[in-house]
């Protein structure tokens, strides 16, 4: 899961750093910065953790610097889904890359390339956002059918920064004001107000070394929504020039990762309580906001059409509202398929010569906060499309190219399959831009094929009709 793009370059760097390291296992970061002021916000209002670190850093060395390191702690089954960074004042993005350090210690280092070279004594304000999956654990792990669900988060009291931090504060934002348990250290450094628990401010925290004993805090809070987890999503984006259509089909394998049912499911209590629609940890409906102008939506699963869905669409927005066959309680599974069509002109532009530029959302998905195990996006371009290039809004973990043979194809349609592991829905509705060449010759391949096959059928039947097979007259 913790793989990263452009691995070779980073691992080379990591190797060099490792060689310089005294510990041998973890990465040693040169002490060239200090964090003047740091504010960490841990947002647990969704079914995963969104951690934002806003930090003012100062170059304390005497050389200009470009690389800044920040680790995220990923104990147990949790993992970093994405890390993004920007210069907070000028709002310019910067690059964040995972460092491949192979250490057992649950810290995942990220190397952030500053948007501009930082001169000695200069400061810059960075805003670094990360999505962490698997960090929330339902406690109790099993609950009754109409009981409240609580999730628990355990994190570091101090940001595990490899640099000296002069001043830092952590804000934990729960999904709900109902917070029965949270760690109090004894001082006045912990404050709860509404949904938020604030730790700090703490002054002059030295660089956190990986062999230090971690001081952690735990917050257990009510989570009234289901913990939607898509084990796998297969998303097909099919471009048809002749049909002037962009068809999208999504196949989901869904699990509710919340607290499991203690007893068996009771329809009686489900039916009697459903009149006043209480909050529940079960997935009852899923709402898919689609782009305006979407049409012909469908919702099926492995045993056929599911009639409990509603779809409304106009030119500005479209919503597909689906209700699974049964409520999905913690630990239950469900799989389904949805799909819809769009008019192609809203997504495709003709470039120079034979080239075309396609701009489609890489990931859509339900409004409920969702994390994804594996997302496979297949871009199915017209038969005979060549020179495919794409610009993805999120790092792609694996890419495959092949020909997908379907209706009336002779060669097969050019297909690019992009795999992204461990994704969260913060990254949805971002467009991937694909350019490809598609010549007029390729466009006329299909009608010609049909024409030739019909004519040859006619010719063969005409010839066969003339043959006299009778014996003796």
């Amino acid at each position: 899961m913790r793989s990263s793009p452009s691995r070779s370059r980073v691992s080379l760097l990591a190797t060099l750093l490792l060689a310089a390291s005294h510990l041998g296992s973890a990465l040693t970061v040169p002490q060239v910065y200090k964090n003047t002021n740091l504010l960490r916000t841990i947002d647990a209002s969704k079914a995963y953790i969104k951690e934002t670190v806003a930090v003012i850093i100062e170059n304390t060395s005497d050389k200009p610097q470009t690389d800044y390191y920040l680790p995220f702690s990923v104990p147990g089954s949790s993992a970093v889904s994405y890390v993004e960074c920007k210069d907070k004042k000028e709002n310019t993005p910067c690059k964040a890359e995972a460092v491949d350090d192979n250490s057992d210690y649950p810290l995942k280092y990220y190397k952030i390339t500053l948007p501009k070279t930082l001169q000695p004594k200069d400061q810059i304000t960075l805003s670094i956002t990360a999505g962490l999956t698997g960090a929330l654990e339902p406690i109790p792990a099993v609950i009754g059918q109409s009981d409240k669900q609580f999730l628990s988060y355990t994190g570091d009291k101090y940001v595990p920064s490899p640099y000296l931090t002069e001043k830092q504060k952590t804000k934990f934002r729960a999904a709900n004001g109902e917070i029965p348990e949270y760690t109090v250290y004894g001082g006045k450094d912990v404050e709860k107000s509404g949904y938020t628990i604030t730790y700090g401010p703490y002054d002059d925290i030295p660089a956190q070394n990986s062999d230090d004993d971690r001081i952690t805090f735990t917050v257990r809070f009510e989570f009234t929504n289901p913990v939607v987890y898509m084990e796998k999503l297969e998303r097909d984006i099919e471009v048809s020039h002749w049909g002037n259509n962009l068809a999208i089909e999504e196949r989901y394998w869904m699990t509710n990762n919340g607290a499991k049912l203690r007893d068996q499911f009771s329809r009686l209590s489900w039916a009697t309580t459903s009149y006043y629609n209480p909050p529940t940890a079960a997935i009852k409906t899923l709402l898919f906001p689609l782009r305006g102008g979407s049409k012909d939506a469908y919702y099926t699963d492995e045993v056929g059409n599911v009639s409990t869905s509603r779809f409304r669409s106009d030119s500005r927005e479209a919503v597909l509202d689906i209700k699974p066959r049964f409520p999905i309680f913690g630990g239950w599974n469900y799989s389904f398929v949805i799909g819809w069509n769009n008019d192609l002109p809203g997504y495709l532009r003709k470039g120079k010569g034979d080239s075309y530029i396609l701009k489609v959302p890489l990931l859509q998905g339900p409004t409920a906060s969702t994390s994804y195990g594996t997302v496979e996006v297949r871009l199915i371009l017209p038969e005979g499309a060549t020179d495919i290039k794409y610009d993805s809004p999120v790092p792609i973990h694996k890419e495959e190219r092949f020909l997908h043979k379907t209706f009336m194809d002779t060669l097969g349609r050019t297909t690019v399959k992009l795999t992204i592991d461990n994704m969260v829905d913060d990254l949805k509705n971002r467009d991937i831009i694909v350019t490809y060449n598609y010549s007029a010759m390729a466009a006329f391949r299909k009608p010609l094929t049909v024409l030739v096959s019909v004519f040859s059928l006619y010719a063969v039947s005409a010839v066969l009709g003339k043959i006299d097979l009778s014996i003796g007259k």
Partner: protein, 761 residues
């Protein structure tokens, strides 16, 4: 004016011929399109879904075929049904249907049209109904002429009797079998007419296809020999019959034995003996015929006749001896139930429990065939008028299938084609007579009295074109335009009403998938009740892959197809004892059932309960069949009488017997059901009965899932108690502890009394 149009249109005989051919092709294509279209109601109204019960097995087998290939399919041993016995599926099914859809699937992939196998399966029956219409056209054209053929094709295309088994989604053997039946018959008529070994061979080939597709092939196996036998008795033996029959029988029987499920049946069972006997007889007759040609002596002929009779008697006695000694299997129970409709109810309740094996009610003839049913005798009468060899076939077919259709509802299917053919001949004769625009000219000179007499004759005689009788007769016809118009108009009305009736019946009676139920919302919009798939999908997604599900056999195929879980019994019903075991588990008290369920490693038990919604096809209504089937195997342990009240009523309310109330089926159906209603209001809407407020208690199983409208209820069989107690004691202890806080532990003792020892499996 009409004649001038006719003259201009059909001036040139060659162009007339080609125009007619084009018209025929166009009409046949339109008929095929209509017959496909009228079967699509269910797809349009619901979705592309496999219907009912048996089609789910066929669909599952087809998926297996396209996934694993033909040879794996041929040797398929299915360990996910009939647990723990399994089923040698490859050797106990008619593979024709699956192989057909598999071949279509591969062909479409080859021309790069990758259609989903489900859609092929759903649309196979409508597709083949178009072909059936074409085969009926060919068959009827051999009987009368092509205009009768076109009528017959149209009738066949939309007759509800056939549509009932061939709507989209009704993916059953009959879907292709009726086409094969008609086409085999057509080839047989062609072979018998021409005396051609090629047509006989083709007939055998399609007979083989038929054998591979449907158990009803026995109908052909007996009908063709009967036809030949009747022809021989009528003294119409000819070389043509000999060639046709011998080539069909020899090739067809050898081919049919290649199907594993059929194997050596054609030479070992009584059902097939008629064909073998006629094969022997026709050799003798041919031999005698040859000798008579060589030696024209009267006495010799008498002697020969004696020999023939002797050999026939001897072989018949031999046949009986072989049957008695058991070399040839005696008639099967299903066969007896064809002659005695009460037989199945007494001896094989499992056959009698299927609704489509009941005797046909009279209204259903009219319902399924409309005006064809009263034209049918007229058509058969017309066959008697000409009585060529092929007409004898129609008569034999009509007599046999009329009888069988009266005995069993599902055999209406075999009656429908001959009714369509006969009715088309009748209608076509009437239209031939009354649509002749020209009035007879020679007759104009004759006197008025003669004229009217001739009119009557013509009306009765039907056909005046073709045929050896009419060719000798002078040109006769109808004189009065009014009578022509009246008859034609009334028949047009009948035809239009027929179309309306067919459409109405198809739409209302035969287009429900029965997997999903449709109801109306208060605002008139359609609401789909999808409880079956809700439950099956829950099983599919949220139980272990190797979970074993016990349910009544009706749902076995659906569980296999939709839930993809192992079942104990299914609609194949090959093992009566196993079905009786499940029946016994349902009909017995919890202690007995738990032992049975544990012994069969059952994880979940599934029941269908219609009480909340008023769905009448539920398990409580089928319950007596479970009891009867179980009683057939364990008469001392399960007794039907104990499920009736002292007044002989089948009750589920306060008056229900203790046996009924303690049966697992009753408990699973009504568990917690009364709590859905305000106190004292609990009603079972199917049986219209008020239920006791205190519902049944369950101990050895626990409710795992109940669907939205309570139609499907799934129970989990509890594991053995961790402390070695029986479940009654454990439950009593639990409830005692729970209530202790509120009510000072009274319940603990009260419940403890109920505890009984359980034998652990």
């Amino acid at each position: 004016m009409a004649s001038s149009i006719k003259a201009t249109l059909f001036k040139d005989p060659a162009s007339t011929e080609s125009t007619r051919n084009i018209l025929k092709v166009v009409i046949l294509l339109v008929i095929a399109a209509v017959s496909v279209a009228s079967r699509l109601f269910s797809v349009i109204r619901f979705e592309s879904i496999i219907h009912e019960f048996d089609p789910w097995f066929n669909f599952r087998a087809s998926k297996y075929l396209v996934k694993n290939g033909f040879f794996d399919f041929w040797n398929w041993f299915d360990d996910r049904t009939w647990y723990p016995l399994g089923r040698v599926t490859g050797g106990t099914l008619y593979p024709g249907l699956m192989v057909t859809s598999g071949a279509i699937w591969h062909f479409l992939r080859m021309i790069s049209l990758p259609v989903d196998i489900r859609n092929i399966c759903v649309l196979l029956a409508p597709g083949f109904s178009g072909l059936t219409a074409f085969a009926t056209y060919l068959f009827t054209a051999e009987m009368k002429d092509s205009s009768a053929g076109l009528l017959a094709a149209a009738f066949m295309g939309i007759a509800p009797g056939y549509i009932s088994r061939s709507v989209a989604g009704s993916y059953d053997n009959e879907a292709i079998a009726i086409f094969l039946l008609m086409f085999t018959f057509y080839l047989w008529i062609k072979a018998a007419k021409l005396g051609s070994a090629m047509w006989g061979g083709l007939c055998a080939l399609f007979y083989f296809y038929m054998v591979s597709a449907w158990g009803g092939y026995v109908f052909i196996t007996n009908l063709i020999p009967l036809h030949v036998f009747v022809l021989i008795l009528m003294g119409r033996y000819s070389g043509r019959i000999y060639v046709a029959y011998s080539s069909w029988y020899a090739l067809g029987t050898l081919a049919s034995m290649q199907i594993p499920f059929v194997g050596f049946l054609p030479i070992r069972t009584s059902e097939h003996m008629a064909a073998l006997g006629i094969f022997g007889l026709i050799q003798l007759v041919a031999f005698v015929d040859y000798l008579r040609g060589q030696v024209p002596s009267k006495h010799f002929n008498t002697l020969l006749r004696a020999i023939v009779v002797l050999i026939a008697v001897v072989s018949f006695v031999g046949l009986v001896t072989l049957t008695v000694t058991g070399v040839i299997a005696p008639w099967s129970g299903r066969f007896y139930s064809l002659w005695d409709t009460g037989y199945a109810k007494i001896h094989i309740p499992i056959i009698a429990s299927v609704s489509e094996h009941q005797p046909t009610a009279w209204p259903s003839f009219f319902f399924d065939l409309n005006f064809l049913i009263w034209l049918f005798p007229a058509g058969v009468y017309l066959c008697f008028r000409q009585l060529r060899d092929e007409h004898v076939f129609i008569i034999v077919y009509a007599v046999m299938s009329s009888y069988f259709a009266g005995v069993m509802v599902r055999l209406m299917l075999t009656l429908t084609p001959v009714v369509c053919v006969a009715a088309a001949m009748a209608v076509s004769s009437i239209l031939d007579t009354y649509l002749e625009i020209e009035s007879p000219e020679e007759a104009a000179e004759e006197s008025d009295s003669k004229k009217s007499k001739k009119t009557k004759e013509a009306a009765a005689s039907g056909s005046n074109t073709g045929g050896f009788l009419s060719s000798k007769a002078p040109f006769i016809g109808i004189y009065s335009f009014t009578s022509k118009a009246a008859v034609v108009a009334s028949f047009s009305v009948y035809l239009v009403m027929f179309v309306l009736h067919c459409t109405w019946v198809t739409s209302n009676a035969y287009s429900s998938p029965s997997v999903v139920l449709a109801s109306r919302m208060p605002d008139g919009s359609q609401h789909i009740i999808d409880d079956f798939r809700e439950a099956y999908y829950w099983l599919r997604k949220n139980t272990p892959y190797d979970a074993k599900i016990a349910s009544w056999w009706d749902y076995g195929y659906q569980i296999g197809g939709m839930a993809d879980r192992t079942t104990l019994v299914d609609n194949n019903t090959w093992n009566n004892t196993h079905i009786a075991t499940v029946g016994k588990a349902m009909a017995s008290s919890e202690e007995v059932s738990y032992e049975i369920l544990r012994k069969h490693e059952v994880d979940y038990v599934l029941v269908i309960f219609g009480g909340l919604l008023g769905y009448s096809g539920d398990d409580i209504n089928k319950f007596l069949w479970m009891v009867r089937i179980a009683e057939g195997v364990w008469p001392s342990e399960v007794q039907e009488r104990k499920f009736f009240t002292s007044r002989g009523e089948y009750k589920i309310d306060h008056d229900a017997t203790d046996t009924m109330k303690n049966s697992l089926m009753y408990k699973m159906s009504y568990y917690k059901y009364a709590s859905m209603f305000p106190p004292g209001q609990a009603t079972d809407r199917v049986r219209g009965a008020k239920l006791p407020q205190e519902g049944p208690q369950i101990h050895t199983i626990e409710e795992a899932f109940t669907t939205e409208n309570w139609i499907v209820r799934i129970y989990k069989v509890k594991d053995l108690d961790q402390f070695g107690r029986d479940h009654f004691a454990a439950m009593a202890f639990e409830s005692g502890k729970k209530r202790a806080g509120k009510k000072a532990g009274m319940a603990g003792r009260a419940g403890g009394k109920k505890g009984r020892r359980l034998v652990r499996a």
